[in-house]
């Protein structure tokens, strides 16, 4: 009896191995493109909306790994992904200058907004400037939820505190170490202020009692770029796929599709490469890989 059930167990095991082997065999590295991107592009739903088209038109399967910009850049540096879609201009420039990436291309932008409780205890509505607004938050010790994770949004936030000449610390300053969506939910639960990109905010607006208290500030401009991981550093990086993806992103048809991606009649991202309808790409940096 034992022998019979053992046989059954072995048969079942073989079946499972067969299943799993199938799954692993489907993982053909030639057609996989690994995209490290920020939580904002995924949480807002943009990638779910765009990528099926790319996968249909080109023979690639895109594996999206959504992390903060800092982590995404690190993955690119380590050669763990093929292409990046990130938003931290200064860090991106350093990344390319250090030779970790090539073909940095402006794709789109949106802007950051400061959201907070509608009662506005810090009085942001009375602030005279963005720096004043940040100072009001720290002066009134109003709770502020920070990403605290080296993301593009966090880098922007840090630069704003610096601008306001404030060292954010104390009980009111909450470093969450979470993605944008989670931070918005935390801020909603805690009646706190936070800095968010408009795209994620629009996607979460329905779930949050917070409202926008500071916006349309030139200092809150938020540009997104695509960068290919330098194939000279890692030979088997899917550079071809990365370039196909970048070129596809700046195609007029894709750019129009980005512009058409709306929530509550508001565009989440504004395409940046749409103006020139002829050129394939408006490359920010000139050092193209040959």
């Amino acid at each position: 009896m034992l022998r019979k059930s053992l046989m059954q167990l072995i048969l079942f095991a073989c079946f499972l191995i067969f299943l799993s082997a199938n799954a692993l065999a489907a993982n053909n590295p030639a057609t996989i493109l690994r995209l490290a991107t920020t939580t904002s592009t995924e949480n807002s739903g943009l990638l779910d909306y765009l990528l099926p088209d790319f996968e249909k038109q080109n023979d690639y399967k895109v594996h999206v790994i959504a992390v903060g910009t800092g982590k995404a850049l690190r993955m690119g540096k380590d050669g763990d992904v093929d292409v990046l879609l990130v938003h931290a201009p200064k860090a991106e420039a350093e990344f390319v200058a250090a030779g970790y990436g090539t073909d940095r291309t402006a794709i789109m932008h949106n802007d950051f907004v400061i959201v907070g409780p509608s009662a506005d205890p810090a009085g942001l509505s009375k602030a005279s400037s963005l720096a004043d607004a940040m100072q009001r938050i720290s002066k009134t010790q109003s709770r502020f939820v920070s990403r605290g994770d080296n993301s593009g949004t966090y880098k922007k936030e840090s630069s704003l505190w610096k601008l306001a000449n404030v060292k954010p610390q104390g009980k009111w300053y909450i470093e969450a170490g979470q993605g944008m969506g989670k931070v918005l939910l935390m801020a909603s639960e805690l009646d706190a202020y936070t800095l968010t990109d408009r795209g994620t905010w629009l996607a979460y607006r329905d779930k949050s009692p917070l409202k926008i208290l500071w916006q349309h500030d030139p200092l809150l401009f938020n540009p997104y770029s695509a960068i290919a991981v330098n194939p000279e550093r890692y030979k088997d990086t899917n550079y071809k796929g990365a370039m196909a993806f970048i070129h596809w992103l700046v195609l007029p048809s894709t750019q129009h599709k980005i512009a058409a991606f709306r929530l509550y009649q508001q565009p989440l991202f504004i395409p940046d490469a749409v103006q020139d309808n002829s050129a394939p790409a408006s490359v920010v940096t000139s050092e193209k890989h040959s």
Binding site: I17, A66, D80
Partner: protein, 234 residues
């Protein structure tokens, strides 16, 4: 905030499950596939390890037992981080290109379920009289045959070790998130999806997946009870 109440989340969740939401089922499938494979690879070696620790005398045996018991307490994120560093292209095993694949998740989960299965099967073998082994050997059973006899004696406790090992990896989020990267249709499993959906505020998706996990645990425990129950009758 339409989906904030637990009840409406629960109803939405049931609807998602019953209507066969493709995304949801692909996530469930990934969980099963990865964890089953990890179990398949780890189960037999773990039982053999437990057996050797219980029946063989060799230097460092007690230290090894302590080591496996200590490994039970290692957080999944630490296992994840260790494998991340190893498998990253920058790391020593970078040439294998395994980071952010199901294989990487399987490796992490093997590392997680192996110690618990060793420790528990070791305890199971300890409960069997050493004379059973000696008797089997004296009446002419080969090593493998005698081993199979002891295993069959301890099978209910070993089954319990398997369930505990499976329980640890099917519900584990840290290592899967780090090693798999939470890629939809590929490395997004039930726990990482729950983490993501919660962060997106999609509570009903999270609850639906939670229901699947709980149902799965219930089925596992029921199967164990079934086998154990039969063992008592005989």
């Amino acid at each position: 905030m339409t989906d904030s109440s637990l009840l409406s989340s629960l109803l939405d969740a049931l609807q998602l499950l019953l209507l066969g939401d493709g995304k949801l089922w692909s996530i469930i499938l990934v969980s099963f596939k990865v964890s089953s494979l990890a179990m398949l690879v780890a189960a037999l070696p773990a039982v053999i390890c437990g057996f050797l620790l219980a029946y063989m005398r060799f230097p460092g045996r007690r230290l090894l037992i302590s080591l496996f018991n200590t490994l039970l307490a290692v957080p999944a994120v630490v296992v994840g981080l260790t494998f991340y560093i190893l498998l990253s292209r920058h790391g020593p095993l970078g040439d294998w290109k395994l980071l952010f694949t199901q294989t990487a998740m399987v490796l992490g989960q093997i590392a997680l379920c192996f110690p618990i299965m060793v420790a528990m099967s070791h305890a199971a073998f300890q409960a069997i009289d050493l004379r059973a082994w000696e008797t089997a050997r004296t009446i002419g059973a080969g090593t493998v045959q005698a081993f199979m006899m002891i295993v069959s004696e301890a099978r209910y406790a070993i089954l319990g070790a398997f369930v505990a090992g499976f329980g640890r990896i099917i519900a584990e989020v840290g290592a899967s998130m780090m090693l798999g990267g939470n890629i939809l249709h590929y490395t997004r499993n039930i726990p990482t999806a729950i983490a993501l959906e919660t962060s997106k505020g999609e509570l009903s998706q999270g609850i639906a997946l939670g229901i699947v996990l709980v149902t799965l645990s219930f089925l596992l425990v029921s199967v164990l009870h079934y086998f154990q129950g039969r063992g008592q009758i005989q």
